[in-house]
Homo-oligomer: 389 residues x 4
């Protein structure tokens, strides 16, 4: 069919010639000469497993921000952060926040939980059978775990959560997945477990590998509560003096403003009571070859602040469902690998380091925007809160 995009099967599909053919096809169909798209700088052979119908690349501008001072368990020291975006002021804003972080002694980062899911649903004749199946799953966890882990060397089944409803049992399989984001790994492992179960437990009417409680590529309360990917906390203390220079406002004003932002986001039913964490996360995801669609989940955030005994500003943000990888997906591609290397995050055992850098970067953006908003308030209100009155 002459409307079909040119394609051959297998490795031969990943060549300059095939890219040329496709762009020629596009030119014929649309009249568009896609010269820039074709200007990739690598051998397309490496793209097998990353793309189909390859025709070239999107060139997304990268700006550098930093140094970002991180006091993590895995990320330690100063980092220069490549941010891929076309939104003006984004890099400048994050850069500004990183300066505040440095003046404040750095941001402390901690991965507090780690779980990737596949959530199958099993159908039964009635709710009692569904419940009894749940008891059996608990009793047979070790065997189910063995069946699941038979498909993977790095995936480990941590536990299985149960959510009974109607005559169904929704299960949520929680895995750790090494340096990979792990969505495919856990799908295969969970499928193996489900097939093992299906042949051993009588009375299953049917099962589906996903009952939409995973919740993949979707933000949800279950992800925020129970973690999806890494649960990372980034926290810092901004000294009172730094704070006033920054926001032009004393700490009590910032504390009050946080109550307002909490209320606005709570009333709105948002997945995030912070400002714009998605900006930094997305720019880092594009730069480092992450699955950018996971911004859906990864954009959830929980901000908590305090005035310390010394009248300094304790700031924290918790990313409850940050999905990152330093292995698999787009992490090995040309520019993506370079960006990971710039962060010292390429190679095995680096995924938590990357998670910490992402969370630290998010803090830079939050501090920067919040202080800009505060400075605006300060100006707009000519308020003297506690000072010259």
């Amino acid at each position: 069919m002459k409307n079909s995009i040119p394609r051959v099967n297998g490795p031969d599909d990943y060549t300059d010639e095939m890219a040329d053919k496709r762009l020629a096809f596009i030119r014929e169909k649309t009249g568009v000469e896609a010269g820039h798209i074709r200007k990739y700088s690598f051998d397309p052979a490496r793209l097998q497993g990353n793309i189909e119908n390859f025709a070239g690349v999107a060139q997304v501008p990268i700006g550098l921000a930093g140094p970002l001072l991180v006091n993590g368990e895995h990320a330690q020291g100063e980092f220069y952060v490549p941010l891929a975006t076309s939104e003006g002021t984004l890099v400048a804003s994050y850069n500004r926040g990183m300066k505040v972080i440095k003046e404040s002694g750095g941001v402390k980062t901690t991965v507090v939980d780690d779980a990737m899911q596949r959530a199958p649903v099993f159908h039964f004749t009635d709710a009692r059978e569904a419940r009894d199946f749940g008891i059996w799953v608990t009793e047979n966890f070790e065997s189910i775990k063995a069946a699941a882990e038979s498909t993977t060397s790095s995936g480990k089944l941590r536990n299985i959560e149960q959510y009974p409803a109607g005559k169904m049992m929704f299960l949520r399989f929680n895995f750790t997945t090494g340096d990979a984001a792990g969505q495919n790994m856990v799908s295969m492992a969970t499928f193996a477990a489900c097939e093992w179960i299906k042949h051993r437990y009588p009375g299953i009417q049917r099962y589906l590998l996903s009952g939409n409680m995973d919740t993949d590529k979707k933000t949800s309360y279950i992800n925020t509560l129970r973690t999806r990917g890494k649960r990372v906390v980034a926290e810092m203390v901004i000294p009172a003096k730094v704070l006033e220079d920054l926001a032009g406002a004393p700490i009590d004003v910032l504390i009050r403003q946080r109550h307002v932002s909490n209320l606005g986001s709570f009333m709105a039913g948002a997945n995030n009571n912070g400002a714009h964490s998605a900006n930094g996360i997305t720019a880092l995801f594009i730069a480092t070859g992450q699955d950018v669609a996971n911004v859906a989940e990864s954009s959830a955030a929980l901000v908590y602040v305090e005035k310390t005994k010394e009248n300094d500003y304790y700031y924290s943000i918790t990313l409850p469902s940050l999905i990152v990888a330093t292995y698999g997906g787009g992490t090995g591609l040309a520019t993506q690998k370079e960006c990971l290397e710039i962060l010292g995050c390429y190679g095995s055992g680096k995924v938590k380091k990357l998670a910490e850098i992402v969370a630290a970067t998010v803090v830079a953006g939050e501090i920067s925007l919040a202080s800009a908003v505060m400075a605006g308030e300060w100006v707009s209100s000519h308020e003297k809160f506690g000072r010259n009155r």
Copy 2:
């Protein structure tokens, strides 16, 4: 400071030399030779307004899917869709869905609402003053509108929603913004309106330009309910025969499966009862120069299906907060502009066309994945659902 990323102010910052300097700085700091990042194919001078501390580009693979048959009001005919991703099988899956769409006669797309927000919050002495202020805002809408629109030629203030809480009045200014996504446009317009208000209405203690009810870069119930960006519906009817070939299951099984997915997402508290709309949206956003961080909002979706009188499958998905632009942001960059041109979406008056293409693409991915899951169920259950085959 030798730790500072090299920078000069103004247009001179956007040169090959400055990119080289920054990569040299990175090499010195990290030992990484970022050769691929430097391989952009355009003149960096055009990047002013899109990036700061420019050092090169992320090269994100583009695959082509199509033809996608769209029966929109603005998008009509067959489209070849550039998808920028590094997630293997994504392009193939969307491509498969587009075949089903074509066999089914195309997907119908409709932009049903359009609104971009900035949501300031005004503080008063007590709730009564906040409420009375709301009455005044309603009475003075035309003047406020004039003040807001004085800052923009394309932004139009549609209405102002009021959300009183405590002694505050949260306002939500809803604009149409032409071909731009409009976040900056509405910020400036709302700021002008707020300043106008501040000087006319007595008793305002202070205001903040955002009370976190916008909700920018965050998914929320308010966005889903009241629209953010475009509210687009994509719908189609899949003939029974196509459906059975596709999913290997009769329509009643798909209808039942939708109930299961609805329940799973409802119980999980997800922002989306569909499968993975974020995948297609993100890949199109990267390719066409959208603000990719808006995947946070844009990933919300509402699926509704029906069995028709003819036993065909009516499928619809509503994207209540899809943020797209064909003007401004990254839309004019080298590869991004080419991708918009491939879709016939570059230039003025094209934003609704692009919104329709995005929504139609989303349908392709949903149909493709849902049928794959269904086929899996069918196989796994050897179920005979209502007949003997």
Copy 3:
């Protein structure tokens, strides 16, 4: 059928004899002698329209709390509040809070919005028709309003919100309903409006009087955002001295504790970031003849606090969907009417007064419990927070 509960049609069903017959039937079926249930003190004839198959009453203990000092627009002065509950300590706790309110100069209450809904859904061939129908609804609002209001003397149609999804248009009719809660009134009025619409607008496939976006007897984000029943704010300033005596903690500890409670409820996905507003609301609802099932919606709450310039504690709670009535339903029954009279809320034009008293009562409970929790913290932590005592 001898298993049937004894019944006659019409007024004759509401007699002592019928109650006796039913209790005799129960005795025969279950052996239970329901002597206390039978001990009502009024003429059952008045129950027509309030109950079917009447057999007696539940006797729910009433405790008195007060005086509650209210500085409302409608409720002014000191009130003694009848609370019907069987939960020990509830009355004592609210009573304690009322003392704090009095010491602090009273609680200020304001009804900031007022809307009761019925939300029909209209089906069309496709999304375009649904959207176009929405335009027609806007253009014909005055006629639709006339049709709706033809069925009621006290209900007034304020506006109609539109929520398009798929090929449907969900409408949300917002009424004011005088002194009644108004659910039945708005159902009849909306039905009349829908029938009027159905005969004038071509292309409606079908409509349902409720598309589950009302959302009646259910809490929801739409209720919290857009108001259901009365939206009432209760606010007060607790002087620093009163606060310390009360909670044994300085104001900064309370401010911090509010951040913790905000975070907990936000992460949990609660409909209320306060403590236990449902307790006071329910006890007042039972006492005063409200539709107690509306506790589902009415329990939503939004707490916002501030430290004032004088270091006092500004506390506010917003009840966004408080459903109350002083007319209709159970408000005219024997004990219920007495309780309304005790509050000075029986008779016409009293519904906002009652709303204010409910909100003020809620504050008493929140302050009381919060301070108890705080006192616990103080003790448990032996914390010195900023000073040496």
Copy 4:
């Protein structure tokens, strides 16, 4: 103080004389002669622990519905259900639904989970300490359990969930509580556990007994997901013939209508995709002496339906956070005890039976209202869906 409601301490407060004094006080203050409130039929001495400042009772009308045919594990056979309400048509509607249930062979009920919570929050210096504390909690679960259970004979600590955020660890202690609802029991047990922890684990800055993740008297996603009180499923199959007589519509119309209701409630952000479960729950709660404020949580519901192979209608509703008791609270009061006895639910070991009856009652109301709505659709649309065309 002459504004004080008359009170004496201890048992002497619970007498007819004290009630008289309080009503005299009210008469003096308000002029209201509260004769009906005073007409209780029991000895107030038994009220100690249930109420303070006792002055009389609310007389809430009770109507009888039934027989309700339940095929539960704990509730088996026909029940006559006392419903306390003043909302006309409620009893009639539930009664109608119970007839449909009987014609359909009864409703099957299953308690699938059981957990009552108290959720303290522990503060640390930073997120790492919070996380490490979590590990210690897991390792010391048996000792913590022993400390908790030392305060109660019937409460059993099932597990402790962990929700880290910022520098805090929110814990959620899940107990079973015998026949009691258990909120007080678990508070005391959790307090004992927290004190035990506090003296053994160094580095705790402070803790609060509730971090607002319990979430008591509030609906929340965490309650729906993780259960609060009993998680009960009620399910039934309505034969096609019964269904058509009932709703006047074939099954496919009901299936479609369910999709509409699912969509409406999902878009609205409701805690319930059903119709009005709060009605039946509230009426039973008032009649049987439950803590009626728990309607806030108990009103959450998850409806799931299917067309069976035989074209019958499988209907299920899951109540994920139904809080009931047959011991403690108001269950031993005069009329409340009689109502429990009528249901055969008074005495030990009856709480799951009551939970099943509540869930079965809810089904009656849902079926009744849904069929009424459907019948309305049928009439309004004159649609012939699949029959006479």
